[in-house]
């Protein structure tokens, strides 16, 4: 019976056959290849299959090397969770992707907490107990860290989900003295982890510390995210992505499992890099995002910036005329386009213009949308070919040659104040040089709303600017009607 030889874990490392760590290593390498595939859309689908294969290897290896008596229950659990996940993935709207990712992060976080608790209750099964059945010191630290990061990921992601999904107001909630509360909770977690690690082996009373760490971490995750406003959500979602990775890595340390450690490190770095990219694209420091409060000024400052300067209102007919006469059109979509569900109409307009020989390109700002790359997915969904979609640094120099810059549902990312006005809250943020285009068309619902940052935009009042005030989808449909 080979399985009696394989069912180790309890007896310790010595009993594990050599193919087991190798299989986990292969799984880890497959996960690296899954991310590597994403370097281009053409290789990405193969990459995703590597990811699935890696997961299959990891799960099967774990199942065959452990007691298979509970196999039926485990398979039921996988089938139950798997079908829920599958159905959600099939049905979710692409506009709701940020919420979905936040919800998935919360599940990873909670799973990490459950695994850490299971290890706490049954250390022998995890191979982290000494002869007396007590949990080893180093394992205590790993478990406590895994549980704490998992709990932060869970409660933070739940709040991020509620904010993104509209169950909770996107505006920041500022508790008085929150920095002191957060810092105190964080210190408490660290001190408790230390105490739990060194508390005398064999003492029965140290268990409360582990629970206290978990509870404090749940609280701090909640406290960290409630003061963060809607505009900063791309950073938050990326940050929680990173945390879910570190939680998996910490549990990988507990189990000595290479697949978990490699994956945790990959995901942790990935989330951290994405947070960095998002912060840079908004010219905000990571610390100031975490400190929270951005976006509070936006709601209150909205009335103060109204200006009496003259601006020109255009009609769909005027816009259609100029667009079909143009040689180069650059479309700058923002989150407002997604809110108005205008992406399909926009692609149709682009197609009609291309038929007429106009060179149509799309310019995407890193923070367009509610999560990194969100706008690219929305355009891809409405069948815009990805080689017509350009990143900020690749297309910004082209505006000077563009006949029309067509801005739909974006505002802050085309505001020249970011380049010139040192007192502006968005100063230093990289923006599109739309003002260099011969004609600027701005689709906006009204002159009132001024974006997240609550800053007026000089582009509205320029001679070459045409304000198209209407619902984005209706306006684009009107323009299509006038393109003959």
């Amino acid at each position: 019976m080979p399985f009696s030889f394989l069912s180790s874990g309890v007896e310790g490392i010595g009993a594990v056959p050599v193919w087991v760590p190798l299989a986990y290593l292969v799984a880890g390498v497959f996960f690296i290849l899954a991310l590597r595939g994403l370097s281009s859309p053409s290789t990405s689908r193969t990459g995703n299959r590597f990811g699935m294969a890696g997961m299959l290897i990891a799960v099967v290896t774990t199942l065959v090397t452990h007691d298979i008596a509970s196999l039926p229950e485990i398979l039921v659990a996988i089938a139950l969770g798997g079908s829920i996940g599958w159905i959600i993935a099939r049905r979710i709207e692409m506009t709701a992707m940020p919420q979905l990712v936040a919800a998935f992060h919360s599940l990873v976080g909670l799973a990490a907490v459950l695994v850490a608790l299971a290890a706490f209750f049954n250390p022998t099964a995890f191979g982290i107990a000494d002869a007396a059945g007590q949990i080893l010191t180093v394992s205590r630290i790993e478990m406590a860290l895994g549980a704490a990061i998992g709990a932060i990921t869970f409660s933070g992601s739940v709040i991020a989900f509620a904010k993104l999904n509209g169950n909770m107001s996107g505006s920041p909630i500022m508790l008085p003295g929150r920095h002191i509360i957060n810092l105190g909770t964080l210190i408490a977690i660290i001190v408790l982890t230390g105490l739990y690690a060194v508390s005398p082996l064999g003492g029965a009373g140290e268990g409360w510390m582990f629970w206290a760490i978990v509870i404090a971490a749940f609280i701090i995750g909640f406290l960290l995210i409630i003061p963060i406003g809607g505009a900063d959500m791309p950073v938050v979602v990326s940050m929680l992505n990173s945390y879910s990775g570190w939680a998996a890595a910490a549990m990988g340390f507990t189990l000595g499992n290479t697949a978990m450690i490699i994956t945790g490190a990959l995901v942790g770095s990935s989330g951290a890099i994405l947070s960095y990219i998002m912060c840079k694209a908004m010219n905000r420091s990571f610390i100031s995002v975490i400190a929270g409060g951005f976006g509070a000024e936006a709601s209150s400052g909205g009335d103060g910036v109204k200006s009496d300067r003259p601006w020109k209102r255009g009609s769909a007919e005027d816009a259609a005329f100029l667009l079909q006469e143009a040689e180069n059109v650059i479309i700058v979509p923002g989150y407002g386009m997604a809110v108005a569900q205008a992406q399909h109409a926009l692609r149709e307009m682009g197609d009609v213009l291309k038929e007429k020989g106009v060179n149509v390109r799309y310019a995407i700002h890193p923070v367009a949308g509610r999560m990194p790359g969100h706008m690219n997915v929305l355009l891809a969904e409405s069948n815009v070919p990805y080689d017509e979609v350009f990143e900020l640094e690749d297309i910004n120099s082209e505006f000077a040659q563009a006949d029309v810059a067509f801005i739909i549902g974006a505002n802050d990312v085309v505001n020249p104040a970011a380049k010139t006005d040192k007192s502006s809250p968005i100063y230093g943020m990289p923006v599109f040089d739309v003002e260099k285009a011969k004609t600027v068309m701005f689709i906006k619902r009204s002159m009132g709303g001024v974006g997240y940052a609550g800053v007026d935009n000089d582009v509205f009042y320029m001679d070459q600017t045409m304000m198209l005030l209407a619902d984005a989808k209706k306006m684009v449909e009107e323009i299509i009607k006038h393109l003959d």
Binding site: G9, I13, P21, F31, A34, S39, S42, S44, R45, N48, G51, M55, V59, T62, H66, D67, S70, E73, I74, A77, I78, G81, I84, G85, W86, A89, L100, F104, L107, V108, L110, A111, L114, V115, A118, F121, N122, A125, F126, V237, S238, S244, F253, T258, A259, M260, I261, I262, T263, G264, A265, L266, S269, L274, I277, P366, P372, G373, A380, Y386
Partner: protein, 94 residues
């Protein structure tokens, strides 16, 4: 495995992650998040160990609950990534 070997793997993997993620095209950052979500559910390994572990019913049920949660993520994460990636098309050349 001893702690130092594990730590070495972890540190190396952080560097691999750093370079691999920087090479991901910004257009695919949303699928990147979805797929990292799916692969971080490799935490299911821990949940499976707990669910299969004998001797403690509490740990077993916690493990099974963890298996359910991680499975939602694995199937959901890979499926939604595949769905997104299928949308990215090149320009049709005539």
């Amino acid at each position: 495995m001893d702690f130092i070997s594990i730590l070495s793997i972890f540190v190396m993997a952080c560097f691999v992650g750093y370079y691999v993620v920087w090479s991901v095209t910004p257009a695919l950052h949303t699928p990147l998040m979805a797929v990292t979500n799916a692969i971080s559910s490799v935490i299911i390994v821990g949940a499976l160990v707990a669910a299969a572990g004998a001797g403690n019913p509490v740990a077993k049920w916690l493990g099974l609950a963890g298996v359910v949660l991680a499975s939602v993520n694995i199937f959901g994460g890979f499926a939604v990534t595949a769905r997104m990636l299928a949308m990215y098309k090149k320009k049709e050349r005539k």
